[in-house]
């Protein structure tokens, strides 16, 4: 089979698999967040946490919940790493250094999974399992909860209640992430992913590091986290042994963000509203896949940095999925990609992670962009702008603007300072335009909570550990606060009835408008910086 045919077949299988689960999973998630009844295990959790699961919260209380829970998560994760030597399965790897522990704690709580450490050298199984993997579940559930709160803002009228954060968080874990992860792990093991408590395995007389991989691999992809148990991430044969596991992992990366559009359509009572978002995500994702694939197939050294068992299509699809979803897992070295191909993975992140974006974050990010697009469109049809029956006034635009501003602000400030620090030159593998691409990629990855590494840049200095840590922190939580405030002001409104004068948001016109807005905002913001990095590289 030619590489092209093999690649198309993989895309075909992927799309088919996603279509099969789209409706059932999307509908299931809609039920999860609207159901009245609590599972027995959930009741136990609520009793322990002294939570009244039937009381609903205002947006500010909801936001305090998110922030408090995440802050405690960061502190706990920091302490666990710093006290690793006291824990079992540490294999004498010692306590994680301060800067690295700080960076890693934020990274995993912010659903970024940026890794400034080499896992098999730094982290023991205990830290991986009770620290990092726990955050892989709950940070994804936090994203889901925030997205659902925003959707409730559209669905509800004249109320200040957005649901209960703790209930949404618990349900996201118990009813969505855990069941799928359990099934997924079994499938991955069946296809050859390892699962072992030993520190290594003897292969032809050499000790190769090993870990309970499958259990963490599955949530790494499913929760769009991306932090590998092993340093080579999904390029490692224990994490991703063959083309089947490769496809399964890509499927796991995409499945929740994609199905959430169905959930959205169900909850707002018009499935077409969800389909149009899926369409926009799909068009951009597919276009970017085309760019990456074509660029890599025509590169000077097309297979440099890629695993032979995945080839160019298997690498390109994975690269597109991981950068389009804020996952950050990698099965090939993006640093070795062509100027255009590598630039495309960078651009995927700069779109603001909404094609289809991370678990929950993708949905709320694209909804924020839809609000901005509908504001302009509403003006152009001569009415006070509205979206999904809610007026877009001063409060809504302010919240959407803050949410959109956070990422470019921290990214450009961080990367700008890094570019002129004398120490940076020493940290780079490459000088010139490719070096700038490496810097931009690192800060784009952190600020967008992607976590994927271009590599080629050593990020263990105090500057990088702290600045990237802050980028992850602000890039995650400023938009979350803004989105919850937005949800609050939307929910407080009356519903505007649909009339013949209402601009429909289900057709191709809206899809074009939204696609254009996503591309335009990213392009206008980042073209000057990109010109000196990937664009200069690609034009050479």
């Amino acid at each position: 089979m030619s590489p092209l045919a093999a690649g198309l077949l993989q895309v075909g299988i992927l799309v088919a698999a996603l279509s099969v689960v789209y409706r059932p999973l999307g509908d299931h998630m809609a039920r999860v967040f609207t159901a009245k009844r609590h599972l027995r295990v959930e009741r136990v959790i609520y009793r322990i946490g002294r939570i009244n699961p039937d009381s609903e919260q205002k947006w500010s209380t909801y936001a305090y919940g998110v922030l408090g829970f995440s802050f405690v998560g960061i502190v706990l994760l920091y302490v666990i790493q710093r006290a690793q030597s006291l824990l079992p399965f540490d294999f004498g790897r010692g306590n994680v250094p301060e800067g690295m522990a700080f960076n890693t704690a934020i990274s995993f709580v912010a659903n970024t999974n940026w890794q400034s450490y080499v896992p098999e050298v730094v982290m023991g199984h205990a830290v991986q399992m009770i620290g990092l993997t726990v955050q892989n579940f709950v940070s994804a559930a936090v994203g889901l909860a925030v997205a659902i709160a925003l959707v409730r803002g559209f669905v509800r009228h004249q109320t200040d209640r957005l649901g209960n954060f703790w209930v949404d968080l618990v349900r996201g874990v118990t009813r969505i992430l855990l069941p799928i992860a359990f099934l997924g792990a079994i499938v991955l093991i069946a296809f050859g992913v390892t699962m072992s408590l030993k520190s290594g395995v003897d292969v032809d007389g050499q000790t190769v590091a090993n870990a309970p991989v499958a259990g963490q691999e599955v949530i790494k992809e499913l929760g769009t986290n991306g932090g590998g148990v092993l340093n080579a991430n999904s390029a490692h044969p224990f994490e991703n042994p063959n083309e089947w596991t490769n496809l399964i992992e890509i499927f796991l990366i995409l499945v929740i963000p994609v199905a959430l559009t169905r959930t959205f359509g169900q909850l707002v009572g018009d499935k077409k509203q969800g389909y149009v978002l899926l369409g926009v995500m799909g068009v951009i994702w597919t276009a970017m896949l085309g760019v990456i694939w074509a660029a890599e197939a025509n590169g000077i050294r097309p297979l440099e940095g890629k695993e032979l068992r995945f080839g160019i299509p298997g690498s390109a699809i994975f690269a597109d999925a991981t950068t389009g979803t804020s996952t950050g897992a990698v099965n090939s070295l993006h640093d070795s990609y062509t100027g255009l191909g590598g630039g495309a993975t960078l651009l995927n992140m700069l779109f603001g992670e909404m094609t289809p974006g991370g678990v929950g974050t993708g949905l709320y990010s694209i909804l924020v962009m839809a609000i901005i697009a509908m504001f302009l469109a509403g003006l152009m049809v001569g009415r006070t702008p509205e979206y999904l029956g809610k007026k877009l006034g001063r409060r809504e635009v302010t919240a959407a603007a803050v949410s959109i501003l956070a990422m470019p602000t921290v990214l450009l400030i961080g990367a700008g300072i890094a570019a002129i620090l004398p120490s940076t030159q020493a940290a780079l593998n490459n000088p010139g335009e490719h070096g700038l691409s490496e810097i931009l990629y690192a800060y784009a990855s952190a600020s967008n909570n992607n976590g994927s590494a271009f590599a080629g840049i050593t990020v263990t200095s105090d500057w990088f550990q702290s600045s990237l840590g802050l980028c992850m922190l602000f890039g995650r939580f400023i938009p979350i606060i803004a989105v919850l405030a937005l949800a609050g002001s939307l929910a407080a409104q009356k519903k505007v009835p649909v009339t013949a004068g209402t601009l429909p948001t289900t057709g191709p016109l809206f899809a074009t408008l939204l696609t254009g807005s996503i591309v335009l905002v990213a392009a206008l913001t980042f073209v000057p910086a990109l010109a000196l990095g990937p664009i200069a590289e690609a034009l050479l």
């Binding site: 302009l376 469109a377 509403g378 003006l379 152009m380 049809v381 001569g382 009415r383 006070t384 029956g389 877009l392 006034g393 001063r394 809504e396 635009v397 302010t398 603007a401 959109i404 501003l405 470019p408 602000t409 450009l412 400030i413 990367a415 700008g416 300072i417 570019a419 002129i420 940076t424 010139g432 335009e433 700038l436 810097i439 519903k495 505007v496 009835p497 009339t499 013949a500 004068g501 209402t502 601009l503 429909p504 057709g507 016109l509 408008l513 335009l520 905002v521 206008l524 913001t525 980042f526 073209v527 000057p528 910086a529 010109a531 000196l532 990095g533 664009i535 200069a536 034009l539 050479l540």
Partner: protein, 663 residues
């Protein structure tokens, strides 16, 4: 209106206020004050940028630096100019209004004479023929004819009398005959004319909710570009091509949405102005914006949808009479009838004027006793009148009853006591209403006709006029209930009204247009006053509201779309020196880096001037569905915004390259 009549205040002012760009220059210069610049965050950034570049131009003068400094200064100035021109039109209107505000002396009922400026609410003043009414108020005693042309432009005197719906008088108008006692209802300085002046001058202009939201969006864009440009310097230093502050400032000013930032306040002022030109006064810009959002229009049937008077629409012969016979008799009976109904019968009968022979006939006028009128022409005694005045056959009775049941008025025609037939008088829908309502429907606006008629008649008219719904046998409280019901469903409602009993509904409606002929209670309650007292104007008001928003949206889109070409002009100019490959992006083939940057800056400034007329006039609005409107505006202002600067910058570069030191 003939030439001898005084023009309306607004029209008069319009004639004086040709948007004089030259006249507005001094005001534009005054607006360079930082306090004023802070009102628009986008222009404030340009203002700071132009000062910064000017400093560099003084320290290290070069042709390029001085040229950029000059054009950045022009950019700020052009924005001020746009606002000054828009305000200038209002100022002229205010001046002509001020002339009407004579220093009237008020004569109180107790005989004291005080200046008009010292009147208190509740004071009773006496005004006699030839005197100017010193303040807004209600007539509490007497009846007088009043010349209100100073306010409305309508020269025909109006009658104002105590009690009822014609008791409101406006300060500054003149009593022509008789004597009235007026109870003052407003404080000096808050009168109708005062509010009008403040309004057209824009003195109290506050940003409307939508303007604020848009300003936030524009500020966001400005921050993004500020970040992008500031961060570009370290990247440039890293790449070995440090940029000068002049070039970076030029890039920043070109990228931030200066076009809309410069024109935003002019668009708002011009929107209000367009209303004033149509003789409508809005109490706030917010009301104008709300007009664009209206979902439901409540329209009174009489005078708005139908002509105020009933008109002949059909001749129905009864018995052996032929239609020709009936028409001829009806014509003769109406020859001398000067009522609107009578004229409409003549019109329907063919409109032939009376012959000499017919003029010899003896006309019999209508009296309350006979309830009929007609003509005695030789032997022939032709009469027309109310059905109850004649003895009717059974067939005739049936026709009469049927017409009544349908809401029409039957008029019986008889010759020498024999009933020839019946004329049907009915409400006639004004021509073009059906089309207007269809337009409104395509804009998503539902029309509801409000009438005191019975449901049957109301339905007949509603069907004929093509309104979406009607409220029959409506009492003022029904109107109020309807508005509440619509608003509970989240709809915005507009209505017109003139009576005191309309006041609560006018206040409740999102857009309440009071007729100037109405009571002061009605005018107080509404948020707009129509000086022409033309209820159909509501439709135009809605269009003006929409046009205002569309103009903002279109120019924002245009402004942002412009950035693409500017990147293609400026980025290669900045970086082709370090990465020659980036020279490929210079697709406009601009001569030198300096000419490229300068051309982009000049284009950016000139496009503001070029768009001032559009901002003042408003983007053309054609009623159509939201999708069609969006598609059209995206095409014109989005795609046009992408293409125009490529052509513009290329053309400007052809000239700029000729300047020594740049080309």
């Amino acid at each position: 209106m003939t030439s001898t009549l005084q023009k309306p205040a607004a029209a008069q002012a319009k004639a004086q206020a040709k948007p004089g760009i030259v006249a507005a220059i001094p005001e534009a210069l005054r607006k360079l004050h930082p306090r004023h610049q802070l009102r628009s965050p986008v222009m404030f950034v340009v203002w700071v940028g132009s000062l910064l570049v000017t400093v560099f131009a003084v320290i290290e003068p070069s042709v390029f630096t001085v040229a950029v400094a000059l054009w950045l200064g022009f950019t700020v100035l052009f924005a001020n100019l746009a606002e000054a021109v828009a305000e200038g039109r209002g100022k002229a209107q205010a001046d002509s209004l001020r002339k009407t505000k004579k220093d009237a002396v008020a004569r109180l009922v107790d005989g004291d004479v005080v200046p008009g400026t010292e009147l208190k609410i509740g004071d009773l003043v006496v005004v006699e023929a030839g005197e100017v009414i010193p303040g807004d108020g209600d007539v509490v005693e007497g009846i007088a004819t009043v010349d209100e042309s100073a306010i409305t432009g309508e020269s025909a005197p109006v009658i104002r009398e105590s009690g009822g719906d014609r008791c409101a008088v406006t300060g500054g108008t003149t009593v022509l005959s008789d004597r009235i006692v007026v109870r003052i209802t407003t404080r000096p300085g808050e009168s109708f004319v005062d509010r009008m002046i403040a309004l057209v001058e824009g003195a109290e202009r506050q940003k409307t909710p939508n303007e604020i939201a848009l300003t936030i969006l524009l500020s966001t864009l400005t921050i993004i570009f500020l970040l992008a440009v500031v961060a570009l310097q370290p990247f440039a230093i890293y790449s070995g091509g440090e940029q000068s502050v002049v070039v970076l400032t030029a890039l920043l000013v070109c990228l931030i949405p200066t076009t809309i930032g410069a024109l935003l306040s002019a668009i708002g002022i011009a929107g209000m102005d367009r209303l004033v030109q149509r003789n409508v006064l809005a109490t706030s810009g917010k009301a104008v914006e709300a007009a664009g959002d209206i979902d439901t229009l409540l329209l009174d049937k009489t005078g708005t949808i139908t002509w105020g008077n009933r008109r002949a629409t059909e001749f129905i012969p009864v018995g052996p009479t032929s239609e020709e016979e009936l028409v001829a008799a009806a014509r003769l009976a109406s020859l001398a009838d000067d009522t609107p109904e009578g004229r409409s019968i003549l019109e329907l009968a063919g409109g032939r004027p009376a012959t000499e022979q017919e003029k010899t006939g003896e006309f019999v006028p209508f009296t309350a006793q006979t309830r009929m009128s007609g003509i005695d022409l030789g032997e022939r005694v032709i009469r027309k009148g109310a059905a109850s005045a004649f003895e009717l056959t059974d067939t005739a009775r049936e026709v009469v009853d049927e017409i009544s049941a349908q809401g029409g008025t039957p008029l019986v025609v008889a010759e020498n006591g024999r009933v020839l037939g019946i004329i049907r008088l009915s409400d006639v829908v004004k021509p073009g209403m059906k089309e207007r309502f269809a337009e409104l429907r395509s804009m998503g606006i539902r029309t509801v006709m409000v009438t005191g008629d019975n449901p049957l008649t109301a339905k007949a008219i509603a069907d004929e006029a093509g309104v979406d719904d009607f409220l029959a046998e409506a009492k003022p409280e029904d109107k109020m209930a309807l508005i509440r019901k619509e608003q509970e469903g989240g709809r915005l409602v507009a209505m017109t009204g003139d009576g005191t009993n309309d006041a609560p509904a006018l206040a409740q409606a999102d857009v309440g247009v009071a007729m100037n002929t109405g009571t002061s209670a009605a005018k107080e309650a509404g948020n707009m006053v129509d000086l022409d007292s033309d209820p159909t104007k509501l439709i135009e008001i809605v269009e003006i509201g929409k046009q205002l928003l569309i103009t903002r949206g279109a120019l924002t889109t245009f402004s942002v779309a412009n950035d693409l070409a500017k990147y293609f002009a400026i980025l290669p100019a900045m970086f082709a020196a370090i990465y020659p490959a980036l020279g490929q992006l210079n697709i406009m083939r601009l001569a030198t880096p300096q000419s490229a940057i300068l051309s982009a800056v000049i284009f950016n400034a000139l496009v503001i001037v070029a768009l001032i007329p559009l901002a003042l006039k408003g983007v053309k609005y054609r009623p159509s569905s939201a999708s069609a409107l969006l598609r059209r505006n995206l095409l014109i202002y989005g795609l046009g915004g992408v293409v125009t600067p490529f052509a513009g910058i290329w053309l400007i570069d052809l000239l700029v390259r000729l300047v020594p030191g740049i080309g």
